[in-house]
């Protein structure tokens, strides 16, 4: 496989609130490749969205990227660590290199400007086009994402569009400066199922045409199965399992991944049986469990180890990465624990 466009290692983002520090993202690794989709999946609050924002350097205060590297390979082959850039330097990467599609197309547009204005803004800024040329390009983009009558729609306000159209416009806006990495943060959550399928189709087509690298953030395993090539399962700010979509779905290794997959409703299930759920709930961010952060909810807990030691990321034989003592790291952990108690 070619070199990744974006390679993130040990990313840590923390929020420094008055009540303490929240480790929203706590050591995340992933690679994104040209023309491939990385699915990032996990429950609400596991740090998916913060990861996306960290990459773009737009984490809201009091949040801050405190560690790790985010290496972006630019079109000319130059490799830049986004984490080392100042906000001012980072600005020229937002849009032309990495763009974001948001969860709520209604709230993510300003209601005070036409969609043409909001699409054209980035074009004018990054491509140096004038008003007329920017509008022309905005119309082309709207056409590309399948907005009917783009020349008329370009002067509409977001509140005049349907939810599906708004998300298409959002995608047009994200693609306005020809980014190479597209981060889609729950792009279909707010949409009905039919529209959802259309939007996912659109993303796939665009990816094929342009070789886009897509990071697809979702909590919907169905969307992952349909869209992703690679999957990273996140729990409490960490990637607990990373691998190809086939491997993850067919032979999930981490107990959390297995539990997530079990809790997908299926039409093959026996009627009147309860849908399996994951026991317990996500711990409060200030009350992160010691040891493996999943251990209080884990069905396969290894007592005395999981409660005390944090499982390291282990590369398995089939090229996956798993953070679980069931799959390695036990010896080192035990030695460490004995060393600490001795």
């Amino acid at each position: 496989m070619a070199d990744p466009i974006l390679s993130v290692r040990g990313l840590k983002t923390q929020f420094f609130g008055p009540e303490g520090v929240v480790r929203a993202v706590d050591g995340v690794d992933f690679d994104v490749f040209e023309g491939r989709t990385l699915g990032v999946v996990g429950e609400s609050g596991c740090g998916k969205s913060v990861t996306a924002r960290s990459v773009l350097g737009i984490v809201d205060r009091p949040g801050k990227v405190v560690g790790g590297s985010m290496k972006l390979r630019r079109a000319n082959g130059e490799v830049v660590d986004l984490g080392t850039l100042t906000n001012e330097q980072m600005r020229k990467y937002r849009g032309p290199e990495i763009a974001l599609v948001f969860q709520e197309p209604m709230a993510s547009f300003s209601q005070h400007y036409t969609i043409g204005n909001q699409i054209g803004e980035g074009i004018k800024l990054h491509m140096g086009l004038d008003d007329r040329a920017a509008k022309k390009r905005a119309i082309e983009l709207l056409d590309m994402v399948g907005v009917p009558q783009p020349a008329r729609r370009v002067d509409d306000y977001p509140f005049q569009l349907s939810g599906g159209l708004r998300q298409r416009v959002m995608i047009a806006m994200a693609l306005s400066c020809d980014p190479r990495v597209l981060i889609a943060d729950e792009p279909t959550t707010a949409l009905d199922v039919t529209t959802q399928a259309q939007i996912l189709d659109l993303l796939r087509t665009l990816q094929k045409d342009r070789g886009l690298a897509i990071i697809l953030i979702t909590h919907d395993m169905g969307v992952i199965a349909e869209m992703a090539h690679d999957v990273s399962v996140m729990y409490l700010g960490r990637a607990v399992e990373t691998g190809s979509v086939k491997e993850i779905f067919e032979t999930p290794k981490h107990p959390y991944t297995r539990a997530l997959l079990r809790s997908i409703p299926t039409v093959l299930a026996k009627p009147r049986t309860r849908l399996p759920t994951i026991a317990g709930s996500i711990p409060h961010p200030f009350d992160r469990p010691k040891g493996c952060s999943y251990h209080p909810r884990c069905a396969e807990i290894i007592g005395a180890v999981c409660e005390k030691a944090e499982p390291p990321a282990v590369d398995t034989d089939d090229g996956r990465q798993v953070r679980c003592f069931l799959h390695g790291g036990m010896e080192e952990a035990k030695a460490g624990l004995q060393g600490a108690s001795a």
Binding site: L56, R94, F102, E104, A107, Q118
Partner: protein, 329 residues
């Protein structure tokens, strides 16, 4: 949109009509009819009114006839610009009010500009740098501004302006210009006198508007569209001013409608302290003296100005917020 505005305009006319009835009721409120009061007042100052003269007056105002006839006659005269006679000043009401109404409007407008000019940047700053030292400082000043009565502020400012700059503060004109006919020199004199009273009148409203702007903007700053703007690579300043600030502007527009009545009825004491030739002090005097035609006319004018202000406010809101513009169709 045209239909909406026409409807708004018609409603405004209706409201003005209701206000006129109310004003007339106010004129009628004191016991005895107007001519009785007029005669009583004249005789107290030594002059006499003949019975024939009194009868003429009664005829003119339709006294003794049913309420609606009296109201009709009054309204008919108003439409021709005759607002009746001020008993206290013994001159037509229009003459007594005279320039005051325009000076009040001018002062309102000046105060509005000062309010916006101060509240907008300070409100934005306070929200963007929430909990910074400057935010706390502005918050403190803002609360003082809300808590301290305007007239007290006026006195303090007058005192320091006099002690430090030897400036005679008060009024809208220099002594020698106050009664002079309008001329370029008088206008210049007015412009020189305008800023201080405008500032004093604006301060209370400014403090409030800063708080409103800060609160609104704090809400808007957390909205996803701000993240969208940042994700496009906009500079922080541009992202904030173009999007959340624009969205937080609505209260500035709706503020227009209330400023004028506030300036007349809410700031009477300031006007008296500063010796401003506005309508406010006149209204107080008219009410104290039961000079009912003058009082009724001022109430009517205030009502009309408020209705007009609301209409302007609507227009500005439509201009600021496309959602309002499109809801109308």
């Amino acid at each position: 949109m045209i239909a909406f505005m026409t409807r708004r305009l018609l409603l405004g006319v209706m409201t003005i009509w209701l206000i006129s009835i109310l004003s007339f009721i106010i004129i009628q409120l004191p016991p005895g009819d107007f001519v009785d009061a007029y005669i009583a007042q004249l005789s107290s100052s030594g002059s006499q009114v003949s019975a024939a003269e009194a009868e003429n007056l009664r005829q003119l105002y339709g006294l003794g006839e049913p309420f609606y006839v009296q109201y009709g006659k009054w309204l008919a005269r108003i439409v021709t610009g005759d607002f009746g006679e001020s008993m206290e000043w013994r001159r037509p009401v229009t003459e007594v009010i005279g320039d005051r109404i325009w000076l009040t409007l001018l002062l309102s407008f000046a105060a509005l500009l000062v309010t916006w000019g101060l509240a907008l940047p300070i409100g934005i700053f306070s929200a963007v740098r929430q909990y910074s030292f400057a935010d706390y400082a502005f918050t403190l000043v803002g609360f003082i501004g809300i808590a301290v009565p305007n007239f007290l502020l006026a006195l303090v400012i007058m005192y320091f302006a006099f002690v430090w700059f030897g400036a005679s503060v008060g009024g809208l004109f220099s002594a020698e210009m106050a009664l002079a006919p309008w001329s370029a020199a008088k206008v210049w004199d007015l412009i020189k006198h305008l800023p201080l009273p405008a500032l004093i009148l604006a301060l209370g409203g400014t403090a409030q508007l800063i708080r409103i702007m800060r609160a609104n903007l704090l809400d808007e700053l957390r909205r996803p569209y701000v993240v969208t703007a940042r994700a496009k690579g906009l500079s922080e300043a541009r992202a904030i001013i173009k999007y959340p600030v624009r969205a937080a502007l609505n209260p500035f527009a709706s503020n227009i409608a209330y400023l004028f009545p506030y300036l007349v009825s809410g700031s009477i004491i300031v006007s008296i302290v500063l010796g401003l030739p506005t309508v406010g002090p006149l209204l107080v005097k008219a009410l104290v003296a039961q000079d009912m035609f003058l009082a009724g006319t001022i109430v009517l004018l205030l009502g009309v100005m408020t209705v007009v202000g609301t209409f302007i406010s609507d227009l500005v809101l439509m201009w600021v917020d496309p959602r309002i513009r499109h809801q109308m169709d």
